[in-house]
Symmetry: C2
Subunit: 231 residues, 2 copies
DNA sequence: CGCGGCTTTGATGTTCATCAAGTAAAGTGG
DNA sequence: CCACTTTACTTGATGAACATCAAAGCCGCG
């Protein structure tokens, strides 16, 4: 109980600055002893839809997709997010279950903190509560905003939009490896797989992008932007 | 400052049980003095997209639509919610603006509490923070869930879904007045106005619903359910 | 080397948006 | 209260956008 751990890794964690900024040293130390890190390989399922929520989880490294099954083999992708963007939507009430799954699109590191401890922290540390509220509100705003962005576009615009999203938000480069299959892009934007592929081929033929399997190079970002704006 | 107000209306407010449950009497009293209630007529705009967020607002009575403009005359409806379901997605950071508007679909009563005071309460009262977090998480889950529900259906299923939503969640009756125009239903489900009307007409011809202007009676909820399930 | 999954492309038909024209309803000013 | 204007609603016809189906190519993996 009185164990002093000078090497507490949470001290230097980037996430500390985002949500745990206002914890004092003692709390950080306790957090360190309460949290556990889990590593997932590409394709592993991190959170199962229908399971009970017991931990507060956030993404430290890697890339995940958040999605909902609605029948065998059929799924809708809610979000594809990178580190420090995803935290689970803790409902904080007993007896609440995940209504989505989360899986790793790349090798991924997840930090879990027991919900009871989070609840305790919230109770005694208001600044922490504000930080967490802010984080959750911002995540939800992003998700809803992206839903609307995608919904108002047509097929061409949707595909252009996600390409730009992957390039700018996820990979920060105009040449990148697609983190998902063609079918997953379709599940993301709510279109059929065949038409997603067709649209990519058209972009390729029009020399707007270059495609090497999973690798995409955006040649003419301006034109993509134009399509994304409504075309 | 020392004013004792035995008649504090917040004491008996239903919303107190939802979010402000864990405030002590002194805080409730202070809340009472910090909050102000606003009344809106049907059609009034309560929150303007683009305006700075200064208050925590929640819906006490009435019905509102939450929506985003993306060009003149064009809007997307994010949610139609009833009392105690809507609270604004407080971002709690300075310099943050609403990225949606809220307007009254019926005569509506909104309670506003200055954000600084909410921030103060969050800081010193963890149970309050947990309640607010829970409320926000649940609201966002509902919105996202409904988005997915609507997206995976075709035109007929979407219209059937919203009719059942209005009947069950909003009006608690199989005969009710539509709180929105046909165009707004279209903006809600992301289809064209003409096709929403066409679908309603088909339901009417098939004797699944009866339509008297804005009044709808669901005659065969089972068939609507069937269409809503995917048909 | 052969199997299975992902990808690609074409052909076909369905679903849906759009346009247009007309009707009902609701607000507005005299 | 009525004529007028405007806005909401309705319906049909047309074409565009998109899903679906099917067949074939590619690619990784055992």
């Amino acid at each position: 109980m009185e164990r002093i751990d000078k090497q507490c890794v949470c001290e230097s964690c980037e996430f500390k600055d985002i949500v745990f900024r206002h914890l004092d040293d003692a709390d950080i130390l306790e957090l360190c002893n309460n949290k556990h890190e889990n590593y997932y390989r590409k394709g592993d399922i991190i959170i199962y839809q229908g399971h009970r929520i017991t931990d507060f989880k956030y993404l430290k490294r890697g890339l995940v997709k958040v999605y909902r099954h609605f029948s065998d083999e059929d799924e809708q992708i809610i979000a594809i997010t990178k580190p420090f963007e995803f935290v689970n939507n803790i409902a904080l009430i007993d007896g609440v279950f995940y209504n989505y799954s989360v899986s790793a699109l790349e090798d991924t590191e997840i930090c879990s903190v027991n919900m009871d401890f989070i609840r305790e922290l919230l109770k005694r540390n208001g600044s922490f509560a504000i930080g967490l509220l802010t984080k959750m509100a911002s995540m939800n705003n992003k998700i809803i905003s992206q839903f609307l962005d995608i919904r108002r576009r047509n097929l061409t615009g949707k595909v252009a939009y996600v390409l730009l999203y992957f390039a700018r938000e996820i990979n920060h480069s105009m040449i990148f490896d697609l983190p998902v299959s063609r079918k997953e892009i379709a599940d993301y934007i709510g279109m059929s797989t065949a038409n997603v592929i067709r649209t990519l081929s058209e972009f390729k033929n029009d020399k707007i992008i270059k495609v090497y399997g999973k690798t995409i190079e955006i040649v003419d970002a301006g034109k993509l932007e134009m399509f994304s704006k409504k075309g």
